[in-house]
Amino acid sequence: MRKFKDWFYERTGFDDFINFLKKKNVPRHMYTFWYYWGGAILVLFFIQIITGIMLLLYYKPTVEAAHKSVVKIMNEVPLGWIIRSIHRWSAYLMIAFVFVHLFSTLILKAYRKPREITWITGCLLFIITLAFGFTGYLLPWDEVSLAATKVGTDIPRTIPIIGIWITKLLRGGEDVTEETLTRFFAFHVCVLPLLIFAIIGIHLILVQKHGMSIPISIEKKKNTIPHIPFYPNFLYREIIFWLLIVGIVITLAFLFPASLGKEADLMAPTPKGVKPEWYFLFLFQTLKLFPSKILSIPGDTFAVLLILIAGIIFFFLPFLDKKPAGKSGKLITYFVYLLIIYMIVMTIWGYVS
């Protein structure tokens, strides 16, 4: 075993990597808990890859076969229903954890200098994660997913000048058809994974370069902050968190397995009361709040533009909040808390309405 280890290290330089991890420090303070979420997202992403590849072995991305292949996965493929349920629940948890990671970064002001590009790559990963959810939702080709995709791909149409082009690009034509299914499948299993791998790589390199951000309140209190080595001290703690997550995903997949609706019919009218997935509900509900016209601009165009502007501000926040790392910036903190409350209220409202 030792001989093999030496042989392997000599050829791969893996021992250098281990030494690097041993030298890497992680600050230890009352907010260290928030450092675990990025790693947890990665674990969920790997669960997604493994279960996704398993589903890919049986899934057929055509209008005639998509729904039937999912039925086959659930009814005939050994443990297929569990794999599909784990895929769905790990996706839900991954999205939820991305939200938590994003908001904790905002509240702890970890986006400030010199971590501006880390923040931007994080925002891109957030958008890609949502895009994974959106494209994956159509793939079972059931009635609800078709209707939700029709509504979802229709929203960009309200953007002036480029809106119609975006809708056509997403749908592969004027309406949601087999072209849309093919495109969403290609995005879900090829384009988005390539993008996410590249951006995760950059994000991780930047995190290694700048180290973990230390919260302002901790910096103010102490002159020196205790650190622990990443390997093995911090990694063991992370593994405990990962084990709990795996347990939660499996439990949810068993107790609340993913169901499948009626097969989608392109000729059938859109069913009433169609709602998007929970992570888009707050946006969906926000769009419903706007009147049909505001200052002679159509209400939905106004709403979409407003959301887009908010998104751009969010994206470039480190360049707008240029306070030195030590300054607290309480206004942004209060705004983030308000945003979290707004999102929760809107999601609940959207769910019950």
């Binding site: 009814n75 902050i225 650190h227 063991y236 405990i240 709990l244 169901s259």
Partner: protein, 97 residues
């Protein structure tokens, strides 16, 4: 100490593999494919028992693994503290002022 850990790991792996996983495969499945929602659920008491037993087993394995890792954390923290105090390794403290 190390060999004990290896032994525990091997036992855990054997226990996991020996689970009656395939009894779970029969859970689910109404055969309607076109007109109704398909929702996997246990068909009888035997299947629902198998499901809960499996879940219980998973959590048992997870808690055993967590216990092992807690012990390991205590050990590596102690070793790090010893090394840190004996060598006065100031590199592990970052001056923020």
């Amino acid at each position: 100490m190390k060999s004990k850990f290896i032994l525990v790991k091997i036992i855990l792996i054997i226990l996991i593999i020996s689970l009656p996983v395939f009894t779970l495969d029969s859970i689910s499945q109404s055969k309607n494919t076109k007109n109704y929602e398909i929702k996997p659920s246990p068909k009888n008491i035997r299947e629902s028992t198998a499901l809960y037993v499996y879940l219980l087993w998973i959590w048992l394995v997870i808690f055993v693994l967590i216990y092992i890792f807690i012990l390991k954390i205590k050990e590596v923290d102690r070793m790090y503290k010893m090394k840190f105090e004996s060598y006065k390794n100031r590199d592990r403290l970052i001056n923020t002022k």
